[in-house]
């Protein structure tokens, strides 16, 4: 069933891509092929392979239980928050929280969670910023 849904999704993607390709504005100075032809070929391959996947599906993959799915979704949300907060809170603070969250969710105890969070964040800051001079996000506190 997963493969059938995936295949249909592939075909919908192909159709969307096809119309977006048709909507490309041609410049008056164009080569013989133009900017549309290659995307149209790709849309065809995308649609064809999507159709084959939908018609001849593989055995069902092993999907995690709803709880594990929520786990991944929560991690995505945390990482998005991390990306957004990085310029606001500064590298060290944001990274400490994100790393600690991941360690916690992978099963670290409270002490280890704090240690991984602080260790990762400060370790990266010292190695990459102080030693190697990579510029990281600066927060209000300057780090």
């Amino acid at each position: 069933m997963s493969d059938r849904i995936f295949g249909v999704f592939g075909m919908i993607l192909a159709v969307g891509y096809f119309f977006a390709a048709l909507a490309i504005e041609e410049s008056f100075l164009s080569d013989a092929v133009g900017p549309k032809a290659f995307p149209l070929i790709i849309a065809a391959i995308l649609a064809l392979s999507g159709a084959v996947i939908a018609l001849r599906p593989d055995p069902e993959p092993h999907w995690p239980a709803l709880g594990r799915l929520a786990e991944v979704a929560a991690a995505v949300v945390v990482l998005i928050l991390y990306a957004e907060m990085l310029p606001v809170a500064g590298f060290v603070i944001a990274t400490a929280f994100a790393a600690a969250y991941l360690a916690w969710r992978l099963g670290s105890g409270p002490l280890e969670t704090v240690a991984v969070g602080a260790g990762t964040s400060i370790g990266i800051y010292v190695t990459f910023h102080l030693t190697l001079g990579l510029s990281l996000a600066k927060g209000p506190l300057g780090f």
Partner: protein
């Protein structure tokens, strides 16, 4: 003689303090990444690229660092295969078959050092193969026009689909997806924006480094979260190594095996679409057919340890040949290495050898040096790396995730790129669940633009005649190989592939 002079120049470049230091660092990190299940050559290299890039390393030093990681991972993978029966990365899966039984018999030290020697022999011979074969391939590639290049790219995608996945339709889908992603941004020939939907960030196109790190590194973190695999595979087991040096008779017994499988692995590596996993797989299968008279393979036969290790290291060297000489990588990790070159504005292919001989020969010399370093690290110092196996992934994975973010943020300093990377991470996770190979996606985003440009150049030169694509014998030959490479696995490949992927890393490390 010209070859030796070139090699001499290469050594002059590689023997600077910086380059030796980078090779040493690369070998060390590579062995660790190879040894840890979940981190393999392709995602290991992927995490390090943005860093090499933001640190302002030049082309030669970056390549030395990253190919040392690649070679190192090929060595490191065997450690957990032998000690834990869990392949450290996919190319090392065949080493489990005889390596772990040897360890159970109390011969872990012998198995480790023997496989270290086999890795050395494989990599050493393959580096010579690279030196001898790449310039010949360059001579052929100089005959290529745009139409032939277009055919060559098609060949790369079609043969990659034949080997990397059990489902051709999914590989084709992945390739088309990658090529489609590459078309996002301003069209290089006419200057019109395509698929940007008014988003200014997309005018430059998607940065393929962002795609690579997201697909390879971040998706791994999600897989670990999903399975809540937080512990260490080595936890609760005693890793005893025992006597480290194998008896001379064992080395003598396995020498013919090493030499044969090095050649075989190298050839497997050079072939488009095949990487180190296939190299170790066919090496083991061939040796089993050839010398296993008493049925000892699978029960801890030293030849069964030497064969896949010589094979996968030789294949790693072989896979560099098409990447450097043609600019078309045949495996996951070489695709990632191609990204390094492209990010540094160096176009691999025949012109690389004439315009940047320092890069090519410096890299080759560095590979020789790295190989000796790896031998030293992997035999006398192997105990150090077995301790790395004790690190639980609940500590490792947050570090992997954060280093990925640092690398990408270091390149652009933009939150938008980080969000795109998270998007690719989620996409990678879903696609891996559905058994869609990721390598064709990466290859598509890397080669998409030059594939399209070659197509348009070829047709434009011939005044809009599309038949020009199959006009020369060379391009007809390339198309023929491409079609055979795509169709043949449909007929005979299913059985072989099913066997090859049977022992796949349970965390689903990326095929290489």
């Amino acid at each position: 003689m010209e070859l030796l002079a070139n090699l001499g120049d290469g050594f002059a470049i590689a023997l600077s303090w910086q380059n030796i230091g980078l090779a040493l660092l690369g070998c060390f990190l590579g062995t660790i990444m190879g040894a840890l299940p979940g981190l393999g050559p392709s995602n290991g290299v992927a995490i390090l690229i943005p860093l090499a890039f933001t640190l302002g390393l030049g082309a030669t030093p970056s390549l030395i660092l990253l190919t040392s990681v690649y070679y190192g991972a090929m060595y490191g993978g065997r450690i957990s295969s032998i000690l834990l029966n869990i392949p450290g990365d996919e190319p090392a899966m065949m080493t489990c078959l005889d390596g772990h039984p040897m360890a159970k018999k109390g011969l872990a030290g012998e198995a480790l050092s023997l496989s270290g020697i086999a890795s050395f022999v494989g990599a050493f011979l393959a580096t010579w193969g690279l030196i001898l074969l790449a310039p010949q391939l360059v001579k052929i590639a100089l005959l290529f026009g745009p139409a032939e290049y277009f055919a060559l790219f098609a060949l790369a995608f079609m043969t990659l689909g034949g080997v990397s996945s059990t489902n051709q339709a999914k590989s084709a889908f992945a390739a088309a997806l990658g090529l489609g992603l590459a078309t996002i941004g301003v069209d290089t020939q006419t200057g019109v924006p395509r698929f940007t939907f008014g988003e200014v960030h997309l005018y430059d196109g998607l940065d393929f480094l962002v795609a690579i790190v997201g697909l390879f590194a971040l998706s791994e973190v999600f897989i670990f979260l999903e399975t809540r695999h937080g512990g260490s595979d080595a936890a609760g087991r005693k890793l005893t190594i025992g006597k480290l040096y194998p008896p001379v008779s064992m080395i003598r017994q396995t020498t013919p095996t090493m030499l044969r499988t090095s050649v075989l692995g190298f050839i497997a590596g050079v072939l488009p679409g095949a990487g180190a996993s296939l190299g170790s797989f066919i090496s083991y299968s061939m040796e089993k057919k050839l010398v296993d008279k008493n049925g000892t393979f699978g029960t801890g036969d030293p030849r069964g340890v030497a064969a896949p290790e010589a094979g996968n290291n030789a294949a790693a060297g072989g896979a560099l040949v098409p990447m450097l000489a043609l600019g078309v990588p045949g495996s996951g990790t070489t695709a990632v290495l191609l990204a390094v070159l492209l990010a540094l504005n160096i176009t691999p292919g025949p012109l690389l050898f004439s315009q940047n001989p320092d890069v090519v020969w410096g890299l080759i010399a560095a590979l020789f040096i790295a190989n000796f370093m790896l031998l030293a690290m992997n035999i006398p110092m192997v105990g150090l790396f077995t301790r790395v196996l004790m690190i639980p992934s609940r500590i490792l994975m947050p570090i992997v995730a954060m280093v990925s973010f640092v690398g990408i943020y270091g390149i652009s300093g933009s939150t938008f790129d980080l969000l795109v990377m998270i998007g690719f991470g989620v996409m990678g996770w879903v696609l891996r669940k559905l058994d869609v190979p990721l390598v064709p996606i990466i290859l598509g985003t890397l080669l998409g633009n030059s594939m399209e440009n070659n197509l348009r150049r070829a047709v434009t030169i011939d005044n809009g005649n599309w038949w020009t694509l199959i006009d020369s014998p060379l391009s007809i030959a390339l198309w023929a190989i491409a079609i055979i490479g795509f169709v043949l696995p449909l007929i005979v490949g299913a059985r072989v592939k099913a066997k090859m992927h049977q022992r796949r890393d349970e965390e689903g490390a990326i095929s290489d």
